[in-house]
């Protein structure tokens, strides 16, 4: 929203795609039509961003799922870079093709869940997924809910679940109290968040919700549906059993880099930014000319930093397209650059807390499924490494891990960490090549109506 607004206000012809029915992303998600939801601080902030976008003159294509990216550097050898091409599925199911001279990616994150026995049982869902249910639809994940994982979302979800009338059976926090204390100085930059966080915790304490710091979920149990979870202190020690009908669990956020990978932009691994991120300059330029990345999709720094980085990306694009001169650019970028630096400090502290914790991966039992699309277990992944697959692309070939509809979005982190532990790091393990479609795409929408004679069948090989 911020990038599009900034670019359109300065006279660029801008189009924004988002698969949601309304702009807003995850934090500022708008409720579906017909739902009346109480206005919280996120909603007000989101409404302001939405209003600015609507007034900016940018064309907003909501309900459009981008499945294809191309052009730019993806041209035959020796040819000049082409305009970028974006293929999106429109709400009516048809395919829409757009060309653009510059492309800003603001694709956000997906949730990391490190598998444990029982994680595929109905009743287990992601923390972020729970926030969508609560925010967009006002739906509770269950009646007796265990909230587990890492990061500030834990307390946000727990407080909202409790406020909405369900019982929070426990908050199981991977972070020790000392980690939260260590993060405090950085959070001082965002007193608003600090106050809200404190309020969430206070409301939970008031309701007598047990908070278990430095604990993890050992297993989710129940036949067919979730009945209980087993919980243990991180350092080892006695397990306890907590009855529940829902477990919301998340181990942090992973930048969505499908598109930058498809363009073969340079990436680097930065655990405290959520994992693999595109290499960027300070104005959000990737290694590919006229391709920019901003927001959490370019490295997790949180909701306050995201719009600032979006404005920086938009300004860089305008500068590179010659739509603003260097003096205008230098003046215009100083405010968002300062905002980004400030917000990223608090965001960075939270991102560090949500970074992947290798101990969780080490604790996965051998027969636990890692890739749920293809049913690949930890033992199978490790056997593939023993059989000579030392990088993610080859592990995928040897096991099918990451070949299903989610294309490794769910399993990629745990699988890569298992491989990394054997080959000496995530850089060595690498990542799977990015390819279109970025999301599964219905053939029917692609095909349209056609005659056989219209298919440009190439010349056959000689007999």
């Amino acid at each position: 929203m911020a990038a599009a607004t900034e670019a359109a206000q300065r006279g660029a012809s801008v189009v924004v795609f988002d698969e949601s029915p309304a702009p807003g992303g995850q934090v500022y998600r708008a409720p579906p039509a017909g739902y009346a939801m109480p206005a919280d601080p996120d909603r007000l902030e989101g409404d302001a961003l939405r209003a600015a976008l609507a007034a900016s003159g940018a064309v907003v294509k909501t309900g459009h799922r981008v499945w294809g990216v191309g052009g730019g550097p993806l041209v035959p050898l020796g040819e000049d870079a082409a305009p970028f091409r974006i293929d999106a599925l429109a709400p009516d199911g048809s395919n829409s093709v757009t060309e653009a001279r510059a492309l800003v990616l603001a694709t956000g994150t997906h949730e990391r869940i490190i598998p444990f026995p029982g994680w595929t049982l109905p009743g287990v869902l992601g923390l972020a997924a729970a926030t969508i249910l609560l925010k967009a639809n006002g739906v509770l994940p269950g009646r007796r809910v265990v909230v587990a994982g890492a990061g500030p979302l834990l307390y946000a979800v727990a407080a909202k679940v409790a406020k909405a009338g369900a019982t929070v059976a426990a908050v199981v926090d991977l972070a020790a109290t000392s980690e939260w204390l260590a993060a405090l100085p950085a959070l001082m930059a965002r007193p608003d968040l600090l106050t809200r966080g404190a309020a969430w915790r206070a409301s939970l304490t008031l309701k007598g919700v047990p908070i278990l710091p430095a604990h993890r979920i050992v297993a989710a149990e129940g036949d067919k549906v979730l009945r209980r979870v087993r919980v243990a202190p991180l350092g080892g020690g006695e397990e306890r059993v907590i009855d529940c009908d829902a477990l919301t669990i998340g181990h942090g956020l992973v930048p969505a880099t499908e598109a930058t990978r498809a363009f073969r932009a340079a990436h680097r691994y930065e655990a405290t930014a959520g994992g693999w991120v595109p290499v960027l300059d300070e104005d959000r330029r990737t290694s590919i000319a006229r391709l920019y990345a901003c927001g959490d999709g370019s490295g997790v720094r949180g909701a306050a930093a995201a719009p600032a980085s979006g404005r920086l990306a938009a300004l860089a694009a305008l500068r590179d397209l010659g739509l603003i001169d260097s003096t205008t650019h230098a003046t215009a970028r100083s405010a968002p650059a300062a905002n980004f630096a400030r917000a990223a400090r608090a965001g960075g502290a939270m991102a560090r807390m949500m970074a992947l914790r290798p101990a969780l991966v080490a604790a996965i039992p051998p027969d636990t499924i890692i890739c749920r699309c293809e049913g690949v277990t930890r033992a199978q992944i490790e056997a593939a490494v023993t059989d000579g697959a030392t990088a993610m692309n080859q592990v995928k070939q040897f096991t099918r891990c990451g070949m299903g509809p989610c294309q490794g979005r769910m399993c990629g982190e745990a699988a890569a960490e298992l491989v990394a532990a054997k080959v000496g790091g995530r850089e060595k393990a690498g990542f799977a090549t990015g390819r279109v479609p970025l999301r599964p795409v219905a053939m029917d929408a692609l095909l349209g109506d056609f005659d056989y004679a219209d298919i440009p069948v190439p010349r056959p090989a000689p007999i």
Binding site: G388, M443, L447, Y452, I455, P462
Partner: protein, 369 residues
Amino acid sequence: MTAPYDVAVIGAGVMGCSTALHLARAGMKVVLLDRGEICREASGVNAGTLTMQMTRAALIPYALRAHAMWMRMGEWCDGGHVQAVDCPGLSVAFTEHEVAMLEERAHFRRQAGAPIEIVSTARAREIEPGLSDKALLAGHCPIDGFTSAYLTGRAFRPALLNAGVDLRERCAVRGVQPGFSIDTEEGEIRATRLVLAGGVWLQDMAAWLGITLPIKVLINQLVVTERLPPVMRTVLGVASGLLSLKQYANGTVLIGGGWQGIGDRQRGGLAVKPDSFLGNVRLAAHTIPALRDARVVRSWLGLEAETADALPAIGPIPGVADAWIIGSVHSGYTSGPYMGKLLAQAICGQAPELPLFPIDRLLAKDQAA
């Protein structure tokens, strides 16, 4: 510096793996070098079709023998396998022009030994109930099938190691001096004999020896769907050869046929071309209408090599004693294991069961020995 190997094979695709395995089994001390991981180029990303109706007629005798090898891979490859499936194949025609092409091509392939019969659409739809009723005629070959090509490296690797092959992955070769001294990222390797098995990179490899061997690069694109209920049970193609379709046991359908994407030797298979992508999936859905209800999960690309006459480069390298070459085989995955076996026979001084494809014909006059 290590003691010289009897033979160094450069390139661990299906050609290099099969050659190395058969040489080691014949008693040679073999080193197999690849700049990447085993079978991560064409041999690990191809469509895995083992068809007689796409390969060139001259290669049918080889492909038939190789088909049998794939089906019994576990027996000769220490249990390694690629989930080969033996099933009939159909090649269909939708226009009068394609009918003529189908009949002509079936004729040549039949002469070469492929048991192809021309059948009516009604008969074709008994064999393949998923086939569109728009087909006019079909070629039916009972010997066809497919593999899960992504398993190729995993299938060969243990057998290579068991046979004593020194497999060096992530070890790019930079050049070769006669004799042979092989300049690699890990230092010099010496070998008495040399086999170049570098797929589309054979052109660069031949240049190490001062040989100009033009190799064209095809950028083949593939598309796979999510899991579907059964929609087909054969390998399906079209008369022109520009479609290959099959459904795996897990329900996914693989759509190929050699539609061209964007890429090159330097950058690999970069991206699909939107027009090729659309054309390929349209042709697939025209042939198996149930595919209209599928969702596409992924596309990818790989590089296939082709010589000037589109026939293989397999044999001695003229003018360089003890140097051999193998590659650029049309439908080369299908015949790969057999081609490696033949070349190994020749290197060991035996008469190969079937003739090789010497490259003298492809070289400028002053280069050919």
